[in-house]
């Protein structure tokens, strides 16, 4: 075909509009941009219908007049973003060929290009990956094709092919499309219009409605819509996303022939977001239903079920919500008036802390300091109105102080530097007193405590005048190294003599990895022998690195 006149063009427009209107629902389902309200197909369809009506009424052999009528109808009926863009595309198109009786291939391609130029002028910041991009790429392909080709059908073919290819690329240009896994809805609508044009020029039937749309596209679009739609998990009416295929079996379909529209109608009673695609052998079904069993039973009437997938959408939705706002969810547990958060190493010490009133013990210590966030999380988990934090390590005091600031509830840090201080502090806790008073009295309480720790040296060194060999034991009184020896008992005994004085009433021994209950008992015997006025308490701390942690008060 070398020349296109107004009557033929009017036919093209009508077919384009018809094809778009057949597929409007599908276009709706793709709508995620600019606002995911699922109306692109409807809007474009209404706009195009209005344009097509004008063109039909004004049908004239003069193509310029027909195009003008289309442009006017589109403008008057423009609905939605893509409707407005469509009207601009054809306004430019019509303007370019205003004076023309008929079009040749070059002029035809040029008109599309003019449409794109006009359309781009009416936007300050064109967003690529939309109907605009599809129109632009398609027009460019048409112009290129028209340079060597004088057959209008071929040019229209080139235009349509490129429009489809460009549509496929839209997710690469517009991230939101990729995220949801769909192509641009407006672009898809334009492709339908172009396909209608081409079908008339070729004198062909239009392709069937479903075969170009993959089920996966539809499913992800449906899911996106439902995720957008439900703010609260409890709003989900149909809780199970059910997908399956039915492979038809003759003995079943003989008395019960498969009819897609009836099948669809019957299934729609079970839920929403229903999608059905079928051919002679197989029907593919996607539905959100509260009773997937019944849906499957229904499908089984027609044949055997294959590829069944059922997912609980409430769970998924909750998971999505939790990902969005994990903090708010976990603040649920019963309210304690006070949360006492401590940090310790070793399950035994943790147990000890809990037994004397700590509400949450964070595992941590010398080599694995908990972060501010860990502490905040712990406070939140307890769900108390007020919190006291006992870091039990000088390296954690900072993090604890930050946590107290951001916790969102009244909180204070009792700057304990080791486990015995922490234990002493907790014992001074008064649940009736305000946070500040508690912090003060607890700090005071641990100030009287003298602490001894026995650990193993990791390298040869000399600290505070004490020569230390790698692998030997060293004793620290209140954090200061006072002695070192290869024998654990020698170190421990001399350490005890350093921290215990005449005012000491109680000595607490926490024995950990590297020593035994037996040696701890022996040590206790030694202490009672040396200091008859002192009471000795022994606990299994199971702490790593420190065979003994000793406190004297």
């Amino acid at each position: 075909m070398k020349e296109l006149d107004g009557h033929r063009f009017a036919e093209m427009v009508m077919m384009g509009s018809h094809h778009l209107s057949n597929n409007a629902d599908f276009v709706d389902s793709l709508n995620v941009f600019p606002v995911p309200d699922g109306d692109t197909g409807t809007n474009m369809n209404l706009s195009m219908t209005s344009g097509s009506k004008e063109a039909e009424q004004a049908a004239n052999a003069h193509i310029g007049k027909t195009a003008q009528a289309l442009s006017k109808g589109l403008l008057m009926g423009a609905r939605g973003n893509s409707g407005v863009i469509l009207s601009q595309l054809f306004r430019g198109f019509g303007k370019a060929i205003e004076e023309k009786e008929t079009l040749d291939a070059k002029e035809f391609a040029g008109a599309f290009q003019a449409g794109v130029d006009t359309a781009y002028k009416a936007v300050m910041k064109p967003v690529e990956g939309t109907i605009l991009t599809v129109a632009k790429d398609a027009a460019k392909a048409a112009v290129e094709s028209a340079e060597t080709e004088s057959d209008i059908v071929k040019v229209m073919e080139a235009l349509t092919d490129e429009a489809k290819a460009s549509l496929k690329r839209t997710p690469d240009l517009l991230p939101v499309l990729k995220e949801v896994g769909v192509v641009d809805s407006g672009g898809q609508g334009l492709v339908f219009v172009y396909e209608g044009f081409l079908a008339v020029l070729k004198g062909e039937e239009l392709p069937a409605v479903t075969d170009r749309t993959s089920m996966d596209d539809l499913v992800s679009a449906e899911h996106h819509k439902s995720i957008q739609g439900f703010m609260d998990t409890s709003e989900i009416e149909f809780g199970y996303c059910t997908e399956f295929m039915v492979r038809f079996e003759e003995e079943k379909t003989a008395g019960n022939p498969f009819d897609e529209s009836r099948f669809r109608e019957d299934l729609s009673a079970y839920g929403d977001s229903l999608l059905v695609i079928s051919d002679e052998e197989i029907a593919k079904v996607h539905i959100h239903s509260e009773d997937p069993g019944e849906v499957l039973s229904y499908g089984k009437k027609y044949g055997s079920l294959i590829k069944i997938k059922i997912e609980n959408m409430r769970e998924q939705h909750t998971a999505i919500l939790e990902k969005d706002e994990p903090m708010q969810k976990s603040a649920a547990p019963a309210k304690h008036p006070y949360a006492i958060i401590t940090v310790s190493m070793g399950p035994g010490i943790a147990e000890l802390f809990r037994s004397i009133g700590a509400s949450y013990v964070i595992e941590g210590g010398q080599t694995m300091n908990p972060s501010t966030e860990d502490i905040v999380k712990a406070i939140r988990e307890v769900g108390a109105e007020r919190a006291l934090i006992l870091p039990n390590n000088k390296n954690i005091i900072m993090a604890a102080e930050q946590a107290a600031e951001v916790a969102g509830i009244e909180a204070a840090v009792v700057p304990t530097k080791n486990v015995p201080q922490g234990l002493a502090a907790i014992l001074a806790f008064n649940p009736e007193a305000p946070v500040a008073d508690n912090a003060e009295s607890m700090t005071e309480a641990f100030a009287h405590v003298r602490t001894g720790q026995v650990t193993t040296a990791v390298r040869d060194t000399t600290i505070d005048g004490v020569e230390i060999r790698k692998g030997s034991f060293m004793g620290m009184a209140d954090g200061k190294i006072i002695n070192s020896d290869a024998s654990l008992s020698t170190v421990t005994e001399s350490l005890i003599s350093d921290i215990v004085d005449e005012d000491t009433e109680i000595v607490t021994l926490l024995y950990g990895e590297g020593t035994t209950r037996q040696s701890a008992d022996d040590l206790a015997g030694y202490i009672e022998e040396q200091y008859p006025d002192v009471e000795v308490e022994i606990h299994e701390g199971k702490q790593p690195l420190y065979p003994y942690i000793i406190s004297a008060e």
């Binding site: 403008l75 973003n81 601009q88 939140r380 969102g408």
Partner: protein
Amino acid sequence: MSIGLKNEFGTIDISNDVIAQVAGGAAVECYGIVGMASRHQIRDGLTDILRKENFTRGVIVRSIGEDLHIDMYVIVGYGVKISEVAYQVQSKVKYTLSKQLGMTVSSVNIFVQGVRVTNL
């Protein structure tokens, strides 16, 4: 003037300027909008199209009590259906603000201050 939010880590203050930027940014991405107009036409010259960096002058954010109202002064391209474009801007601005800033807008009022005619 600003809008405050509070959560467990502290407070978040979003100034009206930011809201205006976001709303303006959403609007100029809308098809049919070719620019923002200054709301003081006499003072700033007639419908001079504001450049990107100062398009917040074409956006007024008013908070009355709990409610947020946005007035937008826009310039549209010639040949578009203005009512539809304006509607698109309203819906896009409302959507963008709720998505990016978590704010519900009570009203988005569009003042079309000019039409830009481009010669074809």
